[in-house]
Symmetry: C2
Subunit: 561 residues, 2 copies
């Protein structure tokens, strides 16, 4: 398939355009490389984008993190880049409104790839457009057979039956007899199952149909799970299932064609799994000690060995150190090892083609994480290689202040992330600095490293409160195009604030900040105390697991500023 | 009318309850004392509450500002107080759900007093309840004839015709032929008219029916405006008006009975009038200089004369000093002059009954403002009388830090007030202090001192962005029950931040903070700079208008800390 072949098909059939997404039947989930149609069509390697092809043009919608990367990777003669000022489908809708202002149009989409919610949104926004299914839609799943495995109760804390009780209660309250789970992360959580289908997310890609009696039918293809029904059985099964509900946000619109009376009810697992249980929280803590050890060993190694190393060397070394830790399963995403100007490409990933060699006088932005059976990690450190400039130090310190400002926030129960973002962003804006991405995301437990339902972002307007037991990242940044990038990211557990009715953050991540980049004069006494206390905590938690040389190094890196 | 007579009527007719609001046909507008049914029934004198009477009980819903006051004023044998945890009608709906969980009920309401939006909300939330109109509903308007007058163009900046153009454009876009304005503040803005119907808000209480040709029909009773049609003409007029729209939020549900095909469209004036034009902004600035002079003269007088003075003496003196200023029309609300423990009653107003005499060793909380023809003011200062305790100083300084934190915020265009509130609240929450009210409200121009559409509040979830040209209060506080209250309030204009794409606040209010209450050790250098710069600005703007003794006093009060 090529953009050209799509355009020829549109021309031949007198159609106006075709929407191509970066998903298959698992709508809100990562896909495999061999399932990535947008990469195939455009060469763009980022993890999220939306493509709209017309008879003569092609528009690729990417967000602020990816715009520089997309510029480098795509052919400007073939593809016009559009910076999303909103969610992808909102931006698409705005573009479609401009393109087809006063005329009707017929636009193709794949009903396996677009959620019912998105379809309803587009139909409502664009009443003059006829959205029509591609002929014989298929769900574009890999042929590779994934290995599935049980996620043990010593890690999950709750059995499937215990988890099922919550869901059945919800179904009873809502008077639903049958509920179809279409989110793989939610299915994995409920079944306590995982698989190796994806490189960085261990989710088991399946649908689960739950009956009010507690029986569950699992639907999955391309796995070795023999108890699963084939996806082809979905249509007939759903057709004959009464009082059925699903979550339109993650359910392909074709499912609604299978069972037109299927109701839209929020998947209760989304919220249930976001509030981690004590076993999961203990696991997160333990995993972060091991991850802190691996990253600290790496930083020590880097301080001695950066000369002649490339971004890829660095990413490989970091992965190899994590692999030595107990309960390591995989990295939790493709390591962003971005040196110098590459750091300004927010979600840059090195490839043999663009791979830079480190040299003195700039910054290394390293965003990485791992899946451990007992918890998932995600950390960004910005590291000076050689002597940093005053400009780098000033901007690093401002990003660190921004991070601390949010990390020390105290807020009432019921506060959503949208209402906290300004604590991080405000101090940067005062210096006319900003970052074109959100400030925090939920983190799954041995699951997706980006997990809902909440996020911390100034742009969105969701009303999901942060709750005790959730795990979130805090990751403000600053990106100086063609020069360097700075981002400082820790994961935090949300806890009660002392003996008050309020909430605050407790750091899970245990790795020192780069003191070479801190301008103490820009910090308040409270900020200095925060850094020193955090560094002390890093040292105390990691000291048992380091060699003598590593320990001496860490002692110096965590000594008071 | 008494609660008892309502209950007898309910019993006799086998009805379950009756809703009584604090409004008449001008739903979101203040009312006159002689129109206040809730005060008549309960003795509660606060400016907002909702009453629900059943055959045996009566429930008064009040918000956090009023709970202590309501406790003092109402009879606990007759009335159960309910602290709203939400908007009044949301709290009512929760209570009704509890009272009539498994049964149907018939509840009376006055369709002149409840907006269509509220009626639809209640019907949706409570499908088992039959909401039924009281027999022969009347709109409960005073018989007193109000004097109307033109608000001159030198103050408004725009003529009615110019303003009408915006509204007609909106009607054209939305394909509306006739639009009924039911908000008095919006009618007043459009007509450039005001009246003396209310003590503190100079709005002309009228409905305006706008035709797409630009002709306007004005409906009003109890005014000397002879061109107005009587309100009794509404029913027949609306019945025969095609393609009609109104804003369900401010339109009594009875209007929808008059014209069932009337559509719900947002009143465009709400947003138009919130963005002040250059003439209005200049007026706000000038009015605040005069207001600053009056309040400063008052503070000088107080420093010499507080002995033996009561809260009422103080309020009267302040009003008399404002009356001497050019363009003064009235106070913009009932002055909150609250000494000592009265200060902890958030919206306390002194009466001859509870009037305290000032004595050394506590705090005076003084929240006041004025309507000038060129602008409206609203300021709160907390003033130490005699020597304050360390506890008072500490908490005052924390509230001041909270105020400064928001006042110096820099934020992207499109940010709503809900996303900024945490900047003020966070620093208090870290000390387990909080305040049970919002942080900021819009301010009308020679109109309602509380004006929409935006507000700054952690609880709400509205998406109204703060825009350049809006005027808002910032007013964090802390209230120590039975001891004292602290609130620090300035008005701010929203402006562009330097040469960036961001927004920030510019102070309009010009009155010094109480340096006796500031603990410099708790402040950062930036906060100290902010206070000194602000005080310098106060001094420079007011110095021309003060006597020699007042000037010496102000020089001392604004000298650097």
């Amino acid at each position: 398939m090529s953009i050209k072949s799509i355009q020829e098909h549109l021309q031949k059939n007198n159609l106006h355009g075709q929407i191509i997404t970066m998903s298959n039947l698992f709508i809100a989930q990562d896909i495999r490389d061999d399932e990535n149609k947008i990469k195939e069509l455009t060469n763009f390697t980022g993890s999220t984008a939306l493509l709209f092809v017309t008879q003569k043009n092609a528009y690729l919608f990417v967000d602020g993190r990816y715009i520089l990367q997309a510029k480098k990777e795509t052919n400007p003669k073939l593809i016009e880049l559009i910076l999303q000022d909103d969610e992808a489908f909102c931006s698409l809708s705005k573009t479609l409104k401009k393109l087809y202002k006063n005329s009707s149009a017929t636009i193709l989409y794949n009903p396996w790839e677009i959620s019912e919610q998105t379809k309803l949104f587009l139909q409502k926004e664009l009443p003059n457009i006829n959205f029509s299914s591609v002929p014989n839609p298929s769900y574009n799943l890999t042929q590779t057979i994934a290995k599935t495995f049980t996620h043990q109760k010593k890690f999950t804390g709750l059995s499937t039956n215990e988890k099922l009780t919550f869901v059945l209660n919800y179904m009873k309250q809502q008077k639903i007899d049958n509920y179809l789970i279409t989110s793989p992360a939610n299915a994995s959580w409920l079944l306590n199952m995982r698989s190796n289908a994806l490189k960085h997310s261990p989710v088991f890609r399946a649908y689960v149909l739950i009956n009010k009696t507690g029986t569950c039918k699992v639907f999955a293809n391309s796995t070795n799970y023999t108890k699963a029904l084939p996806l082809e059985a979905l249509e007939d099964t759903l057709k004959n299932t009464p009082k059925l509900a699903t979550d339109y946000r993650t359910t392909p619109s074709i499912i609604i064609d299978f069972a037109p009376s299927i109701q839209n009810y929020k998947d209760p697992i989304e919220n249930l799994k976001s509030i981690k249980n004590p076993t999961e929280l203990k696991g997160f803590e333990q995993a972060h000690i091991r991850d802190g050890v691996a990253v600290t060993k790496f930083l020590y190694w880097l301080s001695k060995n950066y000369s002649q190393k490339t971004e890829l060397d660095i990413a490989q070394k970091l992965t190899s150190l994590r692999q030595e830790e107990k309960n390591y399963y995989s990295d939790s995403f493709n390591t962003i090892s971005a040196f110098g100007a590459n750091g300004a490409i927010v979600h840059y990933a090195p490839t043999p083609k663009n791979n830079l060699t480190l040299k003195k006088g700039s910054l290394l932005l390293l965003d990485s994480g791992a899946q451990y059976y007992d918890g998932t990690t995600d950390i960004t450190r910005t590291i000076s290689i050689g002597k940093p400039t005053e400009d780098m130090k000033q901007n690093y310190t401002l990003v660190l202040k921004s991070h601390i400002s949010l990390a020390t926030a105290v807020f009432p129960e019921g506060t959503s992330g949208e209402k906290l973002d300004i604590l991080a962003r405000n101090s940067l804006l005062q210096h006319n600095l900003n970052y074109a991405h959100g400030t925090g995301h939920g983190v799954g437990h041995f699951s997706n490293v980006h997990e809902g339902p909440f996020r911390i972002s100034i742009n969105s307007n969701s009303n999901i409160p942060l709750q005790k037991g959730m795990v979130t990242s805090i990751e403000p940044g600053y990106y100086k195009e063609n020069h360097y990038g700075i981002r400082i990211e820790n994961l935090y557990q949300i806890i009660k604030y002392q003996k008050t009715p309020y909430l605050t953050f407790k750091a899970l991540t245990l790795v020192p900040f780069d003191k070479n980049l801190i301008l103490k004069d820009l910090l308040t006494n409270e900020e200095i105390d925060y850094i020193n206390t955090y560094h002390q905590q890093v040292f105390n938690n990691l000291k048992k697991y380091l060699s003598r040389l590593e320990l001496d190094w860490l002692k110096d890196k965590t000594s008071p500023i």
